[in-house]
Amino acid sequence: MKLISAQNISYRINEKMLFHNLSLEVCSGEGLHIKGRNGSGKSTLLKILLGITSVSKGLIEYKNQDLKISYLGHKNAIKNYLTPAQNLQLFFDDLSLTNAFKWLEKLDLYQVQDELTANLSFGQQKKLALIRVLAQSSELIVLDEPFVGLDKAASELLNSFFHQKLSEGTGLILTSHIQPSVECQVIELDKTNV
């Protein structure tokens, strides 16, 4: 089942072409790995697929309008002046909060849950931000460089999470310089650019 498809999309910024006539589609249970050098427009492409940025040309179709997408960009969307526990209370309603706290434990953040997030290390903040994606039930997961800053244990946890979600029929789109262990179709942005 097609979750999302893009047909012949182009994107220009300040009259500079970032990519041209790009087509892709992601079905449920499928992964998509977007590769490319820095500045090739990976993050922009993700934002376009999410519907945040509008394309210069082309068409993007979703399975339905209220497709549930969970997303984490390179901005963490966590509040520095709150503790991890309070941050989670902001994201989640009471139902999924217990699930979120389970992930807090799995990711080794349980001891620091009452410290200010500003005092946490970069990796810990990243893990906290990832919980937003991990503990949410959604049909499509979109991640921008999820492995950056994670230690080995956390990366393995993330990879096994991908495995589990893909087998459950969730779609996955990610950009990463580190190869995820799940099987994905690959798009190289540098090549379509030329």
């Binding site: 910024i13 300040n14 009259e15 500079k16």
Partner: protein, 243 residues
């Protein structure tokens, strides 16, 4: 339908070409009418019965203030076109018109202040019109600063259009409220307008200088929009050919 029509006739390319052929005509009409209007006004028109010769500033002041507002309305029209139909040319025109608007508003304020010294004995009055013109000047500055603040030019085009449209709604509100305020605040001790019963010997040069300044400003607008369009579209083929 409308959108397709507008897009066809609003390509930056044809704008630059058409205005380039029109420019000599406009600048000639503008400058010659300004010269006629101002010499007539400064040398031939009779002195005012009340104000004496200082009233001759009117031939600069009134056209300037008229165009201070007209340029803003023009920008608002463009902003609407940019928001509704995403016409790029409209955004370019706003960006090139804003500094000219700021300039002419400044001239209007400045000439008004100087005019105030011999007539009212003070260079500033918190009168409704002066205050709203000052606010108009601040609005021009705001638009210019806003457009200069963002690196993504298309983003700043859109933000600027939003601000311009909000501003044009604001102009009558400001006028109304300042009017209301100043009549409550202090009785209108001084009326800025010379009254509608202006003598033809003063009216004709005034009309001529208004039209003359209009054409001059349009030609200035043509020049500044051309440079701006060229710099924004510098990667397009037609620009290369044009250069």
């Amino acid at each position: 339908m409308i959108s397709a029509f507008i897009h066809k006739f609003s390509s930056p390319k044809s704008f630059v070409q058409i205005t380039k052929t029109l420019y000599p005509l406009f600048i000639f009409t503008g400058l010659s009418m300004l010269i006629i209007g101002w010499t007539w006004g400064l040398l031939f028109a009779p002195p005012d019965a009340v104000q004496g010769n200082s009233y001759r500033i009117i031939f600069l002041h009134v056209p300037a203030v008229i165009f201070a507002e007209l340029i803003y309305f023009f920008m608002a029209l463009c902003a609407l076109m940019h928001i509704v139909w995403r016409v790029k040319l409209a955004a370019y025109l706003i960006k090139s018109a804003a500094p000219i608007g700021a300039m002419i508003t400044f001239i209007g304020l400045f000439s008004g202040s100087i005019w105030g010294i011999p007539t009212w004995g003070t260079w500033w009055q918190w009168d409704a019109r002066i205050t709203s013109t000052l606010i108009l000047f601040i609005m021009y500055l705001g638009i210019l600063t806003l457009h200069g603040s963002f690196s993504n030019l298309e983003k700043s085009d859109r933000l600027m259009s939003i601000l311009v449209v909000i501003g044009v709604v604001n102009i009558p509100i400001i006028k109304k409220s300042v009017d209301w305020w100043s009549t409550l605040h202090q009785p209108a001790s001084i009326s800025v307008s010379g009254g509608s019963s202006i003598d033809p010997s003063m009216l004709y040069p005034l009309i001529i200088s208004i039209i003359g300044l209009g054409f001059t400003l349009i030609s200035l607008g043509i020049l500044s929009s051309r440079s701006y369009i060229l710099s924004r579209e510098k990667n397009k083929k037609w620009v290369l050919k044009h250069v």
